[in-house]
């Protein structure tokens, strides 16, 4: 099999999620927040509303489509932040060594010791709910893996001939790090970033479910589920569709990450878990 199934299915699911998020204003049939109509409250999925309506008569399909924007924004932006922080710290720590390496090591251990959801929850508690707080909370708390990977890669790469050559040519430290070392370690970093995106989307959903992330009436998948919980006996469909949306998006990212790992990072067996 040349093109692996996980890459194909994962890539497909992610492509669908991205397309839905980008086209949300055009493919949504109603406004996700304003089109409430109590005459249409709690209509089960059917021909008029394919995913049904919620307690305020809002179209669940339109809300889920708009929710994709929030989930993907959180996933992508926070993961870019994590990757930049992790790679910069790991790269410099591995390259310079010494006290800076020790210091980065201590901070990384600290980040690993505080469960990232708890850390993000604490930051949300201080900053208050909202998209900006979420991006800060999730973008600052999950960089330890990319940091470790970057550091390990530098340690094995920095004795290579081309790095020595660059040094002899008089390249500065930063130029060596970012033009010589970084391009050669992108594979594992892209894999970690893809898997981290799924984790960030799950974390956003969890925080919003707890009432600390995106607050109603805005249509985050997590906040939709937190509203749906109280109506699970009368309107179970409210709980089914947002959850499926989260599951399929994260599944897509995880499959894609696995598939990319097989291609970009073949020697990662011990990190496979």
């Amino acid at each position: 099999m040349k093109l692996r199934a996980n890459l194909l299915i994962g890539g497909g699911l992610v492509a669908v999620a991205v397309t839905v998020a980008v086209l949300a204003p055009w493919i949504a049939l109603y406004d996700p927040v304003l089109d409430a109509n109590l005459m249409n409250a709690e209509i089960p999925p059917g021909s008029e509303f394919i995913f049904g309506t919620d307690g305020q008569g809002r179209d669940i399909y339109s809300r889920i489509v708009h929710g994709a924007q929030i989930s993907l924004t959180v996933g992508i932006v926070s993961q870019i932040a994590n990757t930049i922080i992790g790679v910069t710290l790991g790269l410099t720590a591995g390259y310079w060594g010494g006290w800076w390496d020790d210091f980065v090591g201590l901070v990384t251990n600290l980040m690993l010791a505080i469960p990232s959801l708890i850390f993000a929850l604490a930051i949300m508690a201080i900053l208050g709910p909202g998209l900006t707080s979420l991006l800060i909370a999730l973008g600052l708390t999950n960089w330890s893996y990319s940091c470790r990977i970057a550091r390990a890669q530098v340690l094995s790469l920095k004795s290579q001939g081309y790095v020595q050559a660059a040094r002899i040519l008089g390249y500065g430290d930063f130029r060596i790090m970012f033009t010589q070392l970084l391009p050669n370690m992108m594979g594992p970093i892209i894999v970690i970033a893809t898997l981290g995106m799924g984790a960030a989307i799950l974390a956003e959903a969890s925080l919003s479910f707890l009432g600390l992330g995106i607050r109603p009436p805005f249509p985050s998948w997590g906040s939709m589920l937190s509203e749906a919980r109280d109506q699970i006996t009368t309107a179970p469909w409210l709980s089914v569709f947002p959850g499926l949306a989260i599951f399929l998006t994260v599944l897509g990212l995880n499959l894609l990450g696995d598939g990319l790992r097989d291609i970009l990072d073949p020697q990662s067996r011990e990190r496979r878990a």
Binding site: A113, I126, G198, F209, R229, V250, L251
Partner: protein, 309 residues
């Protein structure tokens, strides 16, 4: 061995100090925003804020506050709950057993299902069983725990009526099953993957080929060579997952109204009960570090090649 344990415990001290510093800084240096950024953006009234400032000693200089905090901590004093006026240690102690019970039950589920699943998959790579178990594993890692819990609740409690839908009940097994499964699915999935990867790795090792070629039966090869060697990787995963599970439990505890540390933490956040928030985070982190230390010690017992110098 006792020396090793002592040394390993000593290694965690810098991390613990750093964690205490972070928890203190997060909630004490910036409490202005913490007290004023109310639940729905509304401000706490001036009287309450004044009382909070006084009780938390917020008008004292920073280093003095940190000193007091650490000194109290060293005596096992986590402060007084802002809401209930009880010592935080007492509040946490009441929540610790339900939390432990949920974590242990979830981990038990994860081990009992995940390890055999990964093991069987590795013995028949490429087979239908292998593909099936890996589909289960990747799905388990992608499921939001609280959504799984909600679906389990709907099916087994509200529709079939087999199990109670939420709460702690009398602390018996019936109330424990649904939250434990919801919490245990992702470590189960991870364990299945790790076990499979670990066993596959060992099956390709030279010593396994040697054992086979000297005529050892397949059962004995697996029993004596594969299992023991794959155990280290599996144990690492169990340890890491078990340690972080108490933190992951937050959402599941909230969903099932389980009276553990996670729901205490979330409730305290909404009630702006800073000492309780700090205390519960600290206990969750200490639990993680304790489990990891125990795992490191267990390595040495299982695999005599590993030495900590």
């Amino acid at each position: 061995m006792p020396l090793l344990i002592l040394r390993r415990l000593g290694n965690t001290i810098p991390t613990i100090v750093a964690v205490v510093l972070v928890i203190f800084t997060l909630f004490s240096v910036i409490p202005g925003s913490f007290t004023s950024s109310g639940d729905d953006g509304r401000m706490l009234d001036a009287q309450v804020m004044e009382r909070m400032r006084k009780e938390l000693g917020l008008d004292d200089p920073l280093h003095q506050r940190f000193g007091t905090y650490v000194a109290n901590l060293a005596q096992g004093d986590l402060g007084t709950s802002f809401r209930t006026r009880e010592p935080v240690t007492k509040v946490i102690a009441q929540r610790l057993w339900p939390s432990l019970k949920l974590t242990i039950a979830a981990m038990g589920f994860a081990i009992l299902v995940g390890v055999p699943l990964g093991f069987i998959a590795a013995l028949r790579p490429g087979s239908l069983i292998d593909m099936g178990s890996m589909v289960v594993a990747i799905s388990g890692l992608s499921l939001p725990k609280f959504w799984l819990g909600l679906m389990l609740m709907y099916l087994f409690a509200l529709t079939l009526g087999w199990l109670p839908s939420f709460g702690y009940g009398d602390g018996g097994l019936r109330h424990l099953i649904l939250p434990a499964v919801a919490l245990g699915v992702s470590p189960m999935a991870l364990l299945a993957r790790t076990t499979r990867a670990g066993v596959l790795d060992v099956l390709n090792a030279d010593f396994v080929r040697t054992a086979r070629s000297k005529g050892m039966s397949e059962y004995r090869v697996v029993r004596w060579h594969v299992v023991r060697n794959a155990l280290v990787l599996v144990l690492t995963t169990i340890g890491l997952q078990f340690g972080s599970l108490m933190g992951q439990a937050v959402v599941v505890e909230k969903l099932f109204s389980w009276p553990g540390l996670g729901s205490l933490l979330v409730d305290s956040v909404f009630q702006r009960d800073i000492p309780t928030v700090q205390g519960s985070i600290l206990v969750i982190v200490l639990f993680f570090l304790l489990i990891n230390t125990l795992v490191d010690i267990a390595y040495v017992i299982i695999d005599p090649r590993i030495r900590y110098g």
